[in-house]
């Protein structure tokens, strides 16, 4: 099996390249994506190789980037829209919610909204305001959209290609604080489906579910808990809408305890949905209520104190203690 080690940023770049080679209808559009290669260099070199007709440097208007991608989709193109940062997606919110999500239905299935909206999300890079947000739940709540999150090079490489090939519109969340971390990419074929959750570490006492940046936090917590004799099973949800409840429920039925870790505040969040659904499905297996570890219910703070906002290993372990202590 061909395996290559690369950063997540590079994996996205190569994945986009593969998709563009495979299908001439694939376009990329966004601010600074062409000549500059994107502010994170995810699209580096693609305009040079595929031309300005396919890698489009957009005027500065997010609503227009998504709105014109809708028209391109109606015309049969598959556009990968880059939104520069999570906090800049809101000018496009109307187009995403009112049009992207609903046009397939409104046209009685005549239109295919095959477009991907790339969204570098979550915090941890020491940025100023609007560059560290977690808006995934807004989109997960909207019928017609699918939302996925990648946080490893292998997932980035395959999930971007799978998303581009998919006929539904996809909000593609990229864990920006992991862009520069390296990992192995299996080049022969994807090991998971786009909407599958993946068990990253097996364990028996508590199921800890994360996505994006919090998967690694959960894995570090699992190392720490293991030293105290507590075994955590860590799952990367990967797909946030739909959630892969079969995989999640199998784990919770085994462990009987659930912790969800996310950077977003917990009110009406992905974590809320996971806890609610797994409580319904696994009620008789649960030995403690499911617990969410989240960002606080305040605007994302100045980045000098962001690590006190983002779920830390300590906060995950605190939640693990709570669910472990519940029935003892």
């Amino acid at each position: 099996m061909a395996i290559e080690t690369m950063t997540m940023a590079r994996a996205l770049n190569v994945g986009l390249r593969r998709a563009m080679e495979k299908n001439k209808k694939v376009l990329i559009m966004g601010e600074d994506v062409g000549k500059l290669g994107g502010v994170f260099r995810i699209t580096d070199g693609l305009q040079k190789d595929f031309g300005e007709e396919r890698v489009i440097d957009a005027p500065l208007a997010e609503s227009a980037i998504v709105g014109t991608a809708v028209g391109l989709a109606i015309r049969g193109y598959r556009t990968v829209c880059e939104i520069q940062f999570d906090g800049f997606v809101y000018p496009a919110f109307d187009q995403i919610v009112s049009q992207v999500a609903k046009l397939h239905k409104r046209s009685d299935g005549v239109y295919t909204m095959a477009l991907v909206i790339r969204l570098p999300f979550q915090g941890g890079i020491g940025a100023i305001e609007h560059h560290s947000e977690s808006p995934e739940a807004y989109f997960a709540q909207t019928a017609g959209l699918r939302v996925v999150a990648c946080s490893t090079p292998n997932d980035a490489y395959w999930m971007i290609q799978q998303s581009i090939e998919h006929d539904d519109p996809i909000i593609f969340c990229e864990t920006k604080c992991r862009y520069w971390e390296k990992g192995e990419v299996e080049l022969d074929g994807p090991t998971e489906g786009l909407f599958d959750a993946v068990v990253r570490r097996e364990g028996s006492d508590v199921t800890v579910i994360g996505y994006g940046s919090t998967v690694k936090t959960a894995l570090r917590a699992a190392d720490a808990a293991a030293q105290e004799g507590v075994s955590l099973e860590v799952i990367d949800a990967r797909s946030l809408a739909p959630l892969d409840f079969a995989t999640l429920a199998t784990s919770v039925e085994k462990t009987g305890r659930l912790v969800v870790v996310q950077e977003a505040p917990h009110t009406a969040s992905i974590g809320s949905e996971i806890v609610a659904e797994l409580t319904e499905r696994c009620f008789y297996s649960l030995r403690a209520p499911g617990v969410r570890v989240s960002g606080y219910h305040v605007p994302y703070p100045p980045s000098r104190i962001e690590e006190d906002y983002r779920p830390s290993v300590d906060r995950v372990l605190d939640a693990v203690d709570r669910v472990m202590g519940f029935d003892s």
Binding site: K35, P59, L60, A61, A64, G87, A127, H297, R304
Partner: protein, 355 residues
């Protein structure tokens, strides 16, 4: 750059020129004052760039090249006018009296704002492109309803001119004849996006289509910017409605310290604009026409240096905030989720900066 409709009162060589519609009303002391402001802002910008390079700031948005646009506009304001800036309006903030260290709080990543907006009549910076243009129009509608003789000015760039919010703000300002000046600094680049991608016509022409006057001024000519802005503000205050000013200028530095402009523009272009430096032309005028002596320039340089040293000290003394402060001002009144978060943080014992 040659545009017959470009309002210019001072050439790049420092020669005074006349314009049919505008003439400079400023005397030697006032021009020297503008020069001093520009020198201080450039020094502030250089110091901030150094602080960022030394890891003391998370980011910096340079303003080199745009000093005349900002100082000319900033000094044309009356004390009761209100301004809505982006994250690059350091020169405007300076003219409004915002202390330099407060301008750097957002870049030190210890605050998302940095100063008392009502005190300085200068709103906190808006980072999302163009959002503030609508806020400014709304504020202006309030001024109008109060019957006050005040003007509002909002700032944005050539990049934001493509955003729906900015274009919608033009519609509203025209519809309600709001007392507002739209001050667009066309610095030619929106990160890597050239002006030609944002507009196929000069930006100031857009105003006519929305039903109010547009003026293009040499944004590197502080005398012209001052006069054009002053007249637009005066018109707004007495019911003349909105004006769009396009200050034609250039971003000599990077978009921010995270940006590398060598990837998308050529040095020769930057060189051309270096010869149109906004500060040098004023100095040349002051020396030749007003016989200002070297000693005066030395004093101003020393003052800028002292400001920079103080700024450095103030920034280095700016500690990481207590994390518990993230719960302050999330709401204007008690909120159970905020109270819960604050309690959790205290119980975890992370308050005070240990993590």
């Amino acid at each position: 750059m040659i545009d017959e409709e470009l309002v210019q009162l001072l050439t790049p060589e420092g020669e005074r020129v006349s314009h049919p519609d505008y003439e400079s009303t400023l005397g030697a002391n006032e021009i020297l004052g503008l020069y001093r402001d520009m020198v201080i802002i450039r020094r502030l910008c250089n110091e901030s760039t150094s602080l960022q390079r030394q890891g003391q700031l998370a980011l910096w948005a340079p303003v080199q090249g745009q000093e005349a646009a900002q100082i000319g506009a900033g000094r044309a304001l009356a004390p009761m006018d209100f301004t809505f800036p982006t994250y690059r309006e350091h020169g405007i903030a300076w003219c409004r009296g915002v202390p330099p260290e407060d301008m750097l709080r957002i870049f030190r990543a210890v605050s998302n704002g940095g100063w008392d907006a009502q005190k300085y009549r200068h709103s906190v910076p808006t980072v999302v492109l163009g959002n503030q243009a609508l806020h400014a129009v709304g504020y202006a509608m309030g001024v109008q309803r109060d019957g006050a003789e005040e003007a509002v000015m909002t700032f944005f760039g050539d990049g934001a001119s493509s955003q729906g919010d900015v274009l919608e703000s033009f519609v509203w300002a025209a519809s309600f004849n709001a007392p507002i000046v739209f001050f667009c600094q066309n610095n030619q680049w929106g990160i890597s996006t050239p002006m030609s991608t944002q507009s196929k016509i000069p930006l100031y022409h857009r105003a006519h289509g929305f039903g109010f006057p547009g003026v293009r001024v040499d944004g590197n000519d502080v005398l012209a910017v001052y006069e054009v802005t002053k007249r637009a503000l005066e018109s707004a205050r007495v019911g003349g409605g909105p004006t769009l000013i396009e200050a034609y200028t250039y971003r000599l530095g990077a978009h921010t310290t995270s940006d590398d402009p060598t990837r998308y523009r050529v040095d020769a272009e930057v060189e051309v604009w270096r010869h149109r430096d906004p500060i040098e032309r004023v100095k040349s005028l002051l020396v030749r026409q007003y016989k200002i002596k070297a000693k005066t320039f030395d004093e101003i340089a020393a003052e800028a240096e002292a400001m920079a040293l103080k700024l450095r000290d103030d920034v280095l003394a700016m500690d990481r905030p207590d994390p518990i402060t993230m719960f302050d001002n999330a709401y204007a009144s008690e909120h159970p989720l905020v109270d819960e978060g604050r309690r959790d943080m205290i119980e975890l014992g992370v308050s005070g900066g240990s993590h």
